[in-house]
């Protein structure tokens, strides 16, 4: 009997040991180069996964003899799927194909969870790292204006930069960096110069309301900047640019990756002399500036189970705005994020974010640097995802934000603060292979305004052959800011501007409908959108107070069509054309004060070719903005009379040549405003150009010189 039991046990043990097997091999690209850090794993059992070593090798230890699907994932390359047969083991080498058409592009902004771009039911525009490099962009303004029609950066009072994105201003478009909000604003716009493009992996843009996921400010769209993570053991990039008007940019980036740790340290200095304009205008000179941007990002990940990300950043900008004093802007930021994979179905993210944006005035004679504005935001966030049946995802989460604001625009330079909290839920439902439906709901609370707000959304996508059809409804809202509630500002001893604690939140309803046709080489997307925006917050003259006061304005409707077409051919030629028509309508008798240009378009034609030791890409980009006619009050204190004012349209073209010369040496040259457009009169919304300008840049990827 004992012998029988022993034999049975040995047999079970023999079967179990025999059932285990190893699969090992190499992961390379089409040029035969080893890919370090590629993920190789079983789709059906995520606990069996490995990342490739420096020589591209991997080894999977599979506990049984069943058939599995092996997935090989590496950023910038098409995902590879391999069907592993029952009992199959031994050597398996994989070759990954570069994903030059971004077919496998993963995005997060539309749903707050990673999802393939082609599978997202919310139209998301992605500006890739390659696009950014091709433009040699200085900051987010260059990128958005060049890539997206309907986006215009203009000057408001005192040359402060203001955004208009298809009818929505800076306070109605939410800017995020890796999903986190940015502190500070000037005339309702964040400091866009903070957002340099040095270590950006991609920029995701969702047009339309997204308050059900992101809360306040996501009325007209969300711009999410996703930063890079080092993938090679070490990288060192040094960069220098010099251009017209003594424009200078110098930057360096050091990336390290090993033993589960990554670190990316980057530093950047930029400056430009004042630019005297050639014709009359609302301003005669563009202020000179200097800026410094230092960021460090640290990650530690353990067996794909959890990942900790820490970031710190410092930003400084000085603007030569006055003869006897300069404006200074600083930002201090830090964050800590933990991402935990609990099981194949569950993951949770917890994050803390700190962002402080200061403004100060530096008196040149006294050498005094006196702070007059400080916005400090502390936020906590938790997001939990649960996957049902491998395809339906429930996302729930909540945020807490403490918002502190000290400002020269408050009485006696005093400070105010408020607490905001929210909870949200979203269900990503895939009832059919071709059909995806996402519904979401968010509740927001603002302490000082005692504001409770619910924001719903519903989006659907249906795929048929090479077509994707999307339809969405989303609500947007913007809570009154501390500035808008409590301002008490003496405007040059002439009049006062008063805040209004009784302001109602801005509310919007956004409807979108789109059709997309895409193949490996071609893509055409047509999107229609309609927004109804109520209670938009603005300032108006108040006769009783004999000053300006923040008020809610009459409902505004914004509708339009967005068309884009692109083509990529294997021999290196790419073409892209995008156009947006925007129509704004306000109730009869109410003035339409916004100066949104009805027709805008962007275009890009590029050609590139690669040899063993040389690579070049030449790109011609252009943007066309039509003229716009809008209402303006004949007097700031008379709300009965308006006059029509027309601002001229313009076209700006840029020619860029980027070259990779021997290993890690890169040389860039660009000619901006190629056809020498100079405004006859410099309005706030005229391009701040004095004509054709030149910029040359040298970049060294030091690690490439050490590669065989």
């Amino acid at each position: 009997m004992r012998t029988t039991i022993l034999l049975c046990l040995l047999m079970v043990l023999y079967v179990a040991v025999n059932a285990q097997r190893d699969v090992y091999g190499m992961v390379r690209n089409q040029e035969g180069e080893a890919l370090y850090g590629a993920i190789v794993g079983l789709q059906e059992n995520v606990s069996v996964a490995a990342s490739t070593a420096i020589d591209g090798s991997f080894k999977l230890h599979i506990p049984d003899n069943k058939a599995y699907t092996i997935k090989i994932i590496y950023y910038g390359y098409k995902q590879l799927v391999y069907k592993l047969q029952e009992d199959q083991s031994g050597k398996l080498d994989f070759t990954l194909e570069e994903d030059i058409y971004n077919l496998e592009q993963v995005v997060v902004t539309g749903t707050r969870t990673p999802k393939l771009l082609k599978d997202v039911p919310i139209v998301t525009k992605v500006i890739s790292r390659e696009d950014i490099v091709l433009q040699d962009a200085a900051d987010i303004r260059d990128v958005l204006q060049t890539e997206l029609p309907g986006v215009e950066f203009t000057y408001s009072m005192n040359q402060q930069v203001a955004l208009n994105m298809s009818g929505f201003g800076g306070s109605s478009v939410l800017f995020l960096v890796d999903g986190e909000r940015l502190a500070g604003e000037t005339l309702d716009n964040i400091d866009y110069s903070r957002l340099s493009m040095d270590n950006v992996d991609r920029v995701e843009v969702v047009k339309g309301a997204a308050s059900s996921l992101y809360g306040s400010n996501a009325v007209g769209g969300v711009v999410n900047i996703i930063t890079n993570e080092p993938k090679e053991p070490w990288t060192l990039n040094l960069n220098a640019h010099y251009g017209s008007h003594n424009e200078q940019r110098y930057s360096g980036t050091l990336g390290l990756n090993g033993f589960g740790f990554t670190n990316l340290l980057s530093a950047r200095y930029a400056s430009c002399d004042p630019i005297a304009l050639k014709n009359d205008g609302d301003y005669s000179e563009i202020y000179g500036y200097r800026s410094i941007n230092i960021n460090d990002r640290f990650t530690y990940s353990y067996r794909n189970r959890f990942k900790i990300t820490g970031k710190v950043g410092y930003f400084f900008r000085e603007r030569d705005s006055q003869e006897t004093s300069h404006d200074r802007y600083r930002d201090f930021s830090g964050s800590l994020k933990g991402e935990f994979t609990i099981s194949t179905q569950d993951d949770i993210t917890v994050a803390y974010n700190f962002d402080q944006y200061d403004k100060s005035s530096f008196a040149l004679l006294d050498h005094l640097d006196v702070r007059n504005y400080s916005n400090v935001q502390n936020s906590l966030r938790a997001v939990y995802n649960h996957t049902f049946g491998k395809k339906h995802i429930l996302t729930v989460g909540g945020d807490y934000l403490r918002d502190y604001l000290m400002s020269y625009q408050f009485e006696g330079d005093s400070a105010h603060h408020q607490h905001t909290a929210d909870a949200f839920a979203q269900f990503d439902w895939n009832p059919l292979k071709q059909l995806n439906i996402i519904g979401g709901l968010r509740y927001d609370y603002y302490s000082d305004a005692n504001l409770h707000h619910i924001s719903p959304k519903l989006s659907a996508m249906y795929k048929w052959k090479d077509f994707s059809f999307r339809a969405s409804y989303a609500a947007g809202f913007r809570a009154p800011t501390l500035k808008e509630m409590y301002m008490s500002f003496d405007m040059a001893n002439v009049f006062m501007i008063y805040g209004n604690p009784d302001l109602q939140p801005e509310k919007s309803h956004n409807f979108g409908l789109s059709a997309e046709w895409g193949t490996r080489h071609y893509n055409i997307t047509v999107m229609g959108f309609y927004n109804r925006v109520a209670n938009r917050i603005t300032t108006a003259w108040n006769s009783a107070l004999n000053g300006m006061k923040y008020v809610n304005m009459a409902p505004l409707q914004i509708a339009g069509v967005d068309v884009s077409a692109s083509a990529n051919w294997d021999f290196g030629l790419c073409a892209k054309l995008s156009y947006v028509y925007t129509y704004e309508h306000i109730a009869l008798g109410e003035p339409l004060l916004s100066s949104t240009r009805p027709h805008t378009a962007t275009a890009r034609l590029s050609y590139g070719k690669r040899w063993k030791n040389y690579q070049f890409n030449i790109a011609l980009t252009g943007r066309w903005l039509s003229k716009v006619t809008c209402d303006e009050y004949t007097s700031l204190t008379d709300y009965t009379e308006t006059e029509k004012v027309t601002y001229p349209g313009y076209t700006i073209w840029k020619l860029m040549l980027t070259q990779k010369i021997y290993k890690g040496l890169n040389l860039n040259c660009s000619i901006d405003n190629l056809f020498n457009y100079i405004p006859d009169y410099y309005y706030g919304n005229s391009p701040a150009t004095t004509g054709t300008t030149f910029l040359v840049g040298v970049a060294l990827d030091i690690e490439r010189f050490f590669k065989k």
């Binding site: 803390y352 640097d369 006196v370 020269y408 002439v494 007097s635």
Partner: protein
């Protein structure tokens, strides 16, 4: 592992409480509480000094007596002025007490102190003009003016270009020679039109008086 998590939570809480209202406030200078106006610096050896004036009120003229080193203010709407004064400031307007002025090529008071001045230029007396005395209803298009003399040469010290918003302020940076009614001369260098906290209408004047042993 538990220790690491506890450390992270503690670090987060410490950051939360310490950084609620901001960090690094020590890198900034405190806002100067400068409420002393008049002759804030004097050097009896070089007969030089600094005058600091609050000229934010459109309804006031500030009168300066160089010999007695005193300042006084009078309502710009009323036709009154102190018994003794040498020159006066109203916002960025300057007038003299029956004196005259000349612009030099010097750009600092120290250059005046260290040089032998040549007074071969022409001195220009005040001219009749109007100054703004009430802008509180400016947004309704109503600005009140009052008659006054101003000195067209001294008024060059600051160019205010109001064709754009905000206006562009440009200092001439020139040193001006003020000739008093009694024949004495003073050198005036207007160095700032703002306070240290960027409020416009606070005027800093570097001066030498008397010069030329006059």
């Amino acid at each position: 592992m538990i220790k690491r998590v506890s450390f992270c939570i503690t670090a987060i809480l410490v950051s939360l409480f310490s950084g609620c209202n901001g960090i690094f406030s020590w890198i900034y200078d405190p806002a100067p509480q400068q409420t002393i106006f008049g002759f804030v610096e004097t050097n009896p050896i070089t007969h030089s000094g600094t005058i600091y004036i609050d000229a934010t009120d459109y309804a006031k003229w500030t009168y300066i007596n160089l010999a007695k080193m005193t300042i006084d203010t009078c309502d710009a709407n009323m036709n009154v002025e102190p018994a003794e004064w040498d020159f006066a400031i109203h916002r960025y307007d300057v007038k003299t007490n029956n004196g005259a002025a000349m612009e030099t090529d010097y750009t600092s008071i120290n250059q005046i102190i260290e040089s032998n001045l040549n007074l071969s230029g022409t001195f220009t007396p005040d001219t009749f003009s109007k100054v703004m005395v009430d802008v509180s209803d400016m947004m309704n298009g109503n600005i009140k003016y009052a008659d006054s003399y101003i000195n067209p040469i001294l008024n060059r010290w600051l160019n205010v270009n109001t064709e754009q918003m905000p206006p562009i302020y440009t200092l001439s940076n020139k040193v001006y020679i003020l000739q008093l009614a009694n024949g004495q001369h003073a050198a005036l260098h207007f160095t700032n039109y703002m306070s240290s906290t960027n409020v416009k209408g606070f005027i800093t004047i570097r001066y030498v008086f008397p010069i030329f042993n006059s």
